[in-house]
Amino acid sequence: MKRLNVRLQDLIARISVPFTFGVSQLLLRGFLGYRMENLKAFRAKIRSLLARQEGPVILCPNHLTMIDSLLLIWAMTPAWKAISKPRHFPWNTPEKKNFYHNAVLRFFCYIGKCLPVVRQGPPQQTKILMTKLKALLAKGQSLMMFPEGTRSVSGRVDTKNFAYGIGKIIDDLRQDGLKPQVLCLYMRGRKQEGKSTVPRRGDRFFIDAELVDPHTPHSGLRAARDLATQIVQRLAGMEQAYFSR
């Protein structure tokens, strides 16, 4: 029943893409005046990276604002591709407390392929969510998950206090015989200093992507930690490259 609910949500989300992407563009480009640098080149890079092999794709961005997912989906894919290629329109796991407190947000989260996560929630609830996510990934869909677990307090990728959930998903998928691809995404508004609710109006965004293939000799929780660490360290490396340009 739960899987059927997710499939129904996927279908409704795909049908709603023209509306969702239209509203998103109106808000991001029209009202807030955001611009992506090298949008065409970035989309071509994403197409090329995602075309390299089939299988689950996990997108792992850095996290500075509450609308990072929205910005990243805009940057990654045009609306027509989001309808025809579900891998280009990833599922998201926003914090329930932040995004599900009013009906409008709940509606947009639903048609935006979001599955809410409850931070420090009951383990059983987390397990159900993980099962749903793994089932979606196993069907070749993509998932966007911020490996830091929360917006970076310092404004830089936090290589010390981050969550290991992403590592657990990768390890579990591999245990099931799948080969997940991990796409690290580094995005930053040129005016962005630390974390914020939304980027400054009129900001221009730098964005880059790298495929990573984290591996570990460990299993269980140790594997989850090891894999998550490699992803966060890669993001930190991408950030270092950004600031040294």
Binding site: Q120, P123, G149, N161, Y164, G220, L221, A224, R225
Partner: protein
């Protein structure tokens, strides 16, 4: 291993991760690791792995999920050390 010895070691391991120092000083078996000690949930994995290293045991995911209080941790550790 006695419950008391395990409890002392558990508190020492959790210490660096606890944001609430007062609660740590007054810790009992019923003290909740996340809610009372202010440990970040993501750090719970580090704590579990530190238990494994310190007591030379393996804690599986299901057992880890059952650990909510210091008493839960002590009970699981003592049981695993006996095995």
């Amino acid at each position: 291993m006695t419950q008391t010895a395990a409890f002392d070691k558990v508190v020492a391991i959790i210490g660096p991760f606890a944001k609430n120092a007062d609660a740590l000083k007054a810790a009992t078996r019923d003290t909740k690791i996340l809610a009372d000690l202010g440990v970040n949930s993501a750090r719970l994995v580090d704590i579990i792995l530190a238990f494994e290293d310190e007591f030379n045991i393996a804690i599986d995911d299901d057992t880890a999920d059952k650990i909510r209080t210091l008493g839960d941790a002590v009970d699981q550790i003592v049981a695993l050390v006996k095995d």
